[in-house]
Symmetry: C2
Subunit: 300 residues, 2 copies
């Protein structure tokens, strides 16, 4: 069960974020082809926990920053996350037809447009955040620092690399650290970047930004371990996507490597380490600490 305070905070921020996202999606910029826009916004508006933008905004607030000011960064994080989901679902990759209970992008728009919508969202994330942060008067040096961390999380040593490790059989190794590397690159780096960019744009010191980085790493690992567990233990209704895909695709996961019981212990251990990473924040850390402990018990 998720802690009530955490649940309330997540829901409040999800609604706030989705209001802004829906307003952004409601009017197409003139130069974007209508069909491309439709495909991009279909997936952007397909729901989800909105965890990355929420972490970004909460991190900014916890160090005294303003929510509205980091909004472009929060939107960029969700754009990139959405782009990676669209591409991961393609027939050439995970070949998934269901995501968050809805048909995946390529099922509706075809492979070509799904590829281009992913590319477009990836690039738009940079375009939108650069312009949005400038317009809000964020100092250029903070913008460059935050976007540099963001880009690193997205690129070949971040989620793109993680997806290769996850889908390319020739990259598989049997090393114990391999499954952790997948989790770090596939999931943890972007959660980490959400927190660290939020902290930096909110005005955090390097030390505090670093603590958020450590928290994000443990949170991301916990999150991915639970994801691997849920793929084995959930029904499609609970999960909102097709479970059992990891096994069907012979993926290397925390469950295949360590077994269900050990994986549960590992998730709890990472959650606890996440919670401890933010002790220097004092009472501002309570939400993040409770969140880490709740996430290890989530059911979707």
């Amino acid at each position: 069960m998720m802690n009530d305070m955490v649940k309330r905070e997540l829901e409040k921020n999800r609604v706030w974020f989705e209001d802004h996202l829906n307003s952004l999606c409601s009017s197409r910029p003139e130069n974007i082809p209508p069909r491309l826009w439709e495909s991009m916004t279909y997936s952007l508006q397909a729901g989800g926990k909105r965890l990355r933008p929420i972490l970004c905004v909460k991190a900014a607030e916890s160090v005294g920053g303003e929510k509205e000011k980091v909004l472009p960064m929060a939107l960029a994080l969700e754009m990139v996350h959405t782009a990676s989901l669209i591409h991961d679902d393609l027939p050439a990759m995970d070949n998934d037809s269901l995501r968050r209970g809805k048909p995946t992008n390529h099922m509706i728009y075809g492979d070509a447009l799904a590829i281009l919508a992913g590319d477009a969202l990836l690039a738009w994330a940079f375009e939108y955040s650069l312009k949005g942060l400038m317009d809000r008067g964020v100092p250029p040096s903070s913008i460059v620092q935050a976007l540099s961390i963001f880009a690193q999380a997205v690129g070949p040593s971040g989620i793109c690399g993680g997806q290769v490790l996850d889908t390319d059989p020739a990259s598989f190794t049997s090393s114990l650290s391999f499954v952790a590397n997948i989790a770090l690159q596939k999931t943890a780096v972007l959660l980490q970047a959400s927190l660290v960019t939020g902290a930096i744009l909110g005005g955090a010191s390097q030390e505090i930004a670093g603590a958020f980085g450590k928290y994000g790493r443990h949170l991301g690992l916990a999150f991915q371990i639970v994801d691997d567990i849920l793929d084995v233990t959930s029904s499609p209704e609970e999960l909102g996507k097709t479970p059992g895909k990891d096994a069907a695709q012979q993926k290397i996961t925390f469950v295949t490597q360590f077994g269900l019981e050990e994986a549960r212990k590992m998730a709890l251990k990472e959650s606890k380490e996440a919670a401890e990473s933010l002790f220097m924040l004092g009472s501002s850390a309570v939400f993040f600490q409770k969140l880490a402990l709740s996430l290890s018990k989530r059911s979707r």
Copy 2:
């Protein structure tokens, strides 16, 4: 025939750029999976005119900037251009097996890795240029301005949008401006961004940067018109890729819309307008002016 001075300048800068590119590609950053790196660098090192990085560097030099300082931007432009070629060649898109006389990325690495290599190059362009320009002491405000223009050229209203117009039948219209819009978004915006980012990072005034933007727009249109012409008139050996694809795929091009003779006239007209756009640069503009006139006569 290409003007000798232009030819020499292009070749000198191509060699300089490729030296840096090859040195970058020669050592894999630790966190990038080996197979992904192989796929990314295969396409990056597959040759080509390197026109975008050369335009960027020459624009910077023409306003008194240093070549070495804008190198990260030049590399980023080539990364994004390469990413777009990898995705355009995919079976779901143009389904091309030959590019610059070599097998296309997906022919060697498969569709999944080709999709991810394109994504990775797209994100790496931002990661690499942000860090590289910071390390070289470029003022953050110039970095933000240049990357903002770059991102816009890459995103949904830039080359991603152009590719949708080019490949998605549902986006086709018969309007006369449609073929020009494809050319602008597919080709001109990135050539434009190459010139404008180079000028900005080289220290140009807004007025000069604007002149480069105008030049790039005409140059890009001329370039695309000639591309459409060559697809009809060239052999595979001359072109280094498969000709006749436009007709086979029933694409709307300058040749299908206006005929070969009229298209030739249009290319020449755009080249001339390009050359005139830079009059305020005086003798620094000579290379660019001769280049524009040469490009309208290129044979590959």
